[in-house]
């Protein structure tokens, strides 16, 4: 098999062998920030997006040794996908890795969830991810290489009372991942989902302590645990992994 062109990585670490950059949505904190740092450590120039945490986002970008930019965006805006991809491409090169991480929750029992809570969660967690993927695939398919990594959740495949909207969005994200993966597989583009369990972030800060007793690993996950999986899926080594869900939950779903 002929070897592909290898480009020099821009930072020590060297796992990246492709041109282009990584775009991480929701990169100002939590899993997104850890993902941005992990990809940068592998040599990827990183564009990370934020909606309101400008200072935090810039701190993440500034703390990265390689090329990194923080881009403000509301991913639910119809034009956001085009704007973000265009800006990332202009500043850092073609988007070779897209990490759909931006996510929100608005909990309530189904009988009490209002339309706004339903719509908001689906719009950010699922529809935005679709639009960004659709836009990113154009270039990835033409270049015969790409990585789309969707941060889903163990919630979705699993029940979690009070999160019908969140569960729907994450289960939907997994379904979307599989179908799109199959559509583009022969173009060298992989599309995968990661299903984190309980990860210590702002989103889980309010969760009760007794939840930990249910986790076989007896600890919550760290954002770095998830980021390590993103790093693998973004790499050349993961070229034969597509259309799948990588669960990172300390054994919770086993």
């Amino acid at each position: 098999m002929a070897l592909e062109t290898v480009t020099e990585p821009s930072a020590p670490g060297g796992a990246r062998t492709r041109e282009g950059c990584a775009l991480v949505t929701g990169g100002s904190r939590g899993i997104g920030a850890a993902v941005a740092r992990a990809l940068a450590a592998d040599g990827w120039p990183v564009a990370l997006t934020y909606r309101s945490g400008a200072d935090a986002a810039r701190a993440v970008a500034d703390g990265i040794e390689g090329d990194a930019v923080a881009l403000e965006a509301d991913v639910t805006a119809p034009e956001a996908a085009e704007t973000l991809l265009a800006e990332a491409e202009e500043r850092l090169g073609p988007v070779a890795v897209l990490v759909n991480n931006a996510g929100v929750r608005a909990d309530g029992l189904a009988v009490q969830l209002d339309d706004e809570q339903w719509d908001a969660v689906l719009a950010t967690n699922l529809t935005a991810a679709f639009r960004l993927t659709r836009r990113a695939l154009r270039g990835m398919v033409r270049r015969r290489h790409g990585r789309v990594i969707n941060i889903a959740s163990v919630v979705g495949p699993r029940a979690n009372p009070g999160q019908a909207n969140y569960a729907a969005s994450k289960a939907g994200l997994i379904g979307m991942t599989k179908t799109i993966a199959v559509e583009v597989a022969r173009r060298g583009v992989t599309v995968n989902a990661i299903a984190p369990g309980f990860i210590t972030t702002d989103m889980t800060a309010e969760l009760p302590e007794d939840v930990l007793g249910e986790i076989p690993a007896r600890r919550a996950g760290r954002p770095e645990d998830v980021a390590a999986c993103v790093r693998f899926l973004a790499s050349d080594e993961a070229a034969y992994v597509t259309g799948t869900v990588l669960t990172v939950d300390g054994g919770l779903s086993a």
């Binding site: 154009r138 398919v141 033409r142 559509e183 583009v184 022969r186 173009r187």
Partner: protein
């Protein structure tokens, strides 16, 4: 992009794009069907993208479903660009 796009301008772009996507160059003729060229919907989506970038012509899913040969694709692009 010129004001009037002709078949003579479109044909080489379509042929080149198809050759890059898969079929052998000598198999590509105006009469060739997608089936004969082993070109599927993903290939046509990519061809549509090239056409849009080059001629500003947007071919949607329904359009692509109607055209069956390379020649029909060229005719449609010329018609839409005009």
């Amino acid at each position: 992009m010129s004001a009037t796009v002709t078949a003579e301008q479109v044909q080489p772009v379509v042929y080149d794009a198809l050759a890059e996507i898969g079929p052998d160059r000598d198999q590509i003729t105006n009469d060739a069907t997608w089936e004969e060229l082993d070109v599927d919907s993903l290939d046509l989506a990519e061809l549509s993208q090239v056409v849009e970038e080059k001629f500003g012509v947007r071919l949607k899913g329904d359009d692509v479903a109607q055209i069956k040969t390379v020649g029909e694709a060229i005719d449609l692009i010329v018609a839409r660009a005009g």
